[in-house]
Subunit: 238 residues, 2 copies
């Protein structure tokens, strides 16, 4: 049986009164280290691939998910061009560990990690932990994938968030918020105009989550798509 | 008074029976040369700027349009990085001329022009022609601005079309279709998965236009946006 990680309780990390501290030591005796870092090379592709397929299953869209590891490698980490995070498709991973993270991860040259520590009363049930274990020993819990877009009205770049996903067992613990906040911080740092993303009308829980971040739905806008045979037929030279 | 360009009639360019040809020579005695080309440098910024502001007025959104020529220059044609059309924000312009285009425009090293010739019975009323006249003497009639996006499910890049606009007087002549087709052809050429763009619910004429191209609305999807103070407040480091 796969080992399990302790789960989160809602107690804050800040200093607590002695009595509360005592209670916490009784009920929250597991520490979970959490970090958002940049995916920088092919070693993360198996985890990104796994997360994409988990996400497809969550949306009941596995039939439409054609993501392969070689295709992800060549499109996300093309060795022919220099790695330029934020200028093209970029992935942030949220990973957890029961021990402190080793410093000097190679990704820090491009992006300062965002770290937090959770005190947890219950173990996280993660039967697929081994599939998401990195060489460093951390467990990948979720990801956000985004790329630069552009606003003509503002004449400024922006970020489009393509996907946000946290694996079952790690949800409801603030990991999605950490990932979105990491993208927002990067947007602010780069002077970008805004962040946009799409949601299904039926995923009302996500609407509430995004509205709490300060985002709003553009009610009067719809997305048009031209793809597959229709694109080939229209775009092929006459 | 500004000179006017002849307008389009619906007669095809292909060989016609003698009788019809005679009629055409009576009624369509003006030829309009039309070309879609890539915008490659700052010399096109005044036209792009003008088109963005015309588009804002069309949508009654002039108050929200902050586009400036310096901001467009630095974001579209940043001299610090090599010009890489299709890898970042890219602009196709549609321009017209009453005489054949000079060959060897500098943009042809990145994108083969798409040209057509229209036979026109009536002049186009374009009181702002001089504002949109290039050094070469052509008149800029419209543009499409697009950038690469990404589909995780397909692990492939795609194109997001940010804006499509044709100036009044040049509408209804197939220019918008030429621009969209130019983007579609480029997507097919690069093996990209699809094209997507957004539309307002009330712009029903554009829906019909896009559906005729083979595109469809994603009815179950909405766009979320995080911008302005909400982005700053959320994204600023604690």
């Amino acid at each position: 049986m796969a080992p399990v990680l302790p789960a989160y309780n809602l107690k804050p990390k800040t200093a607590l009164p002695a009595e509360e501290k005592k209670q916490q030591s009784d009920h929250s005796n597991h520490i979970l280290y959490v970090r958002v870092r940049l995916a920088t090379d092919e070693s993360d592709v198996p985890f990104i691939h796994g997360l994409i397929h988990k996400m497809a299953a969550f949306y009941h869209l596995s039939d439409e998910c054609e993501a392969t590891k070689p295709a992800l490698s060549s499109t996300l980490f093309n060795s022919k061009t220099p790695f330029e995070p934020f200028k093209t498709v970029t992935v942030f991973l949220v990973e957890v560990s029961s021990t402190p993270f080793a410093p000097n991860h190679p990704s820090t040259q491009h992006f300062n990690h965002i770290e937090t520590t959770l005190h947890l009363p219950h173990p996280i049930n993660d039967p697929e932990m081994e599939l998401f274990r990195t060489e460093e020993g951390t467990i990948i819990a979720g990801f956000v994938i985004f790329f630069p877009s552009y606003s003509t009205f503002l004449s400024k770049p922006a970020f489009h968030v393509e996907d946000l996903f946290v694996r079952e067992g790690y949800r409801g613990k603030g990991f999605g918020g950490m990932l979105m906040k990491a993208v927002a911080s990067q947007a602010v740092k780069m002077g970008y105009a805004r962040m946009e993303w799409t949601v299904t009308t039926w995923n009302v829980a996500s609407h509430t989550f995004y509205e709490k971040l300060g985002a709003h739905i553009l009610q009067d806008w719809r997305i048009f798509r031209l793809a597959d045979d229709a694109l080939l037929s229209y775009g092929r030279s006459d």
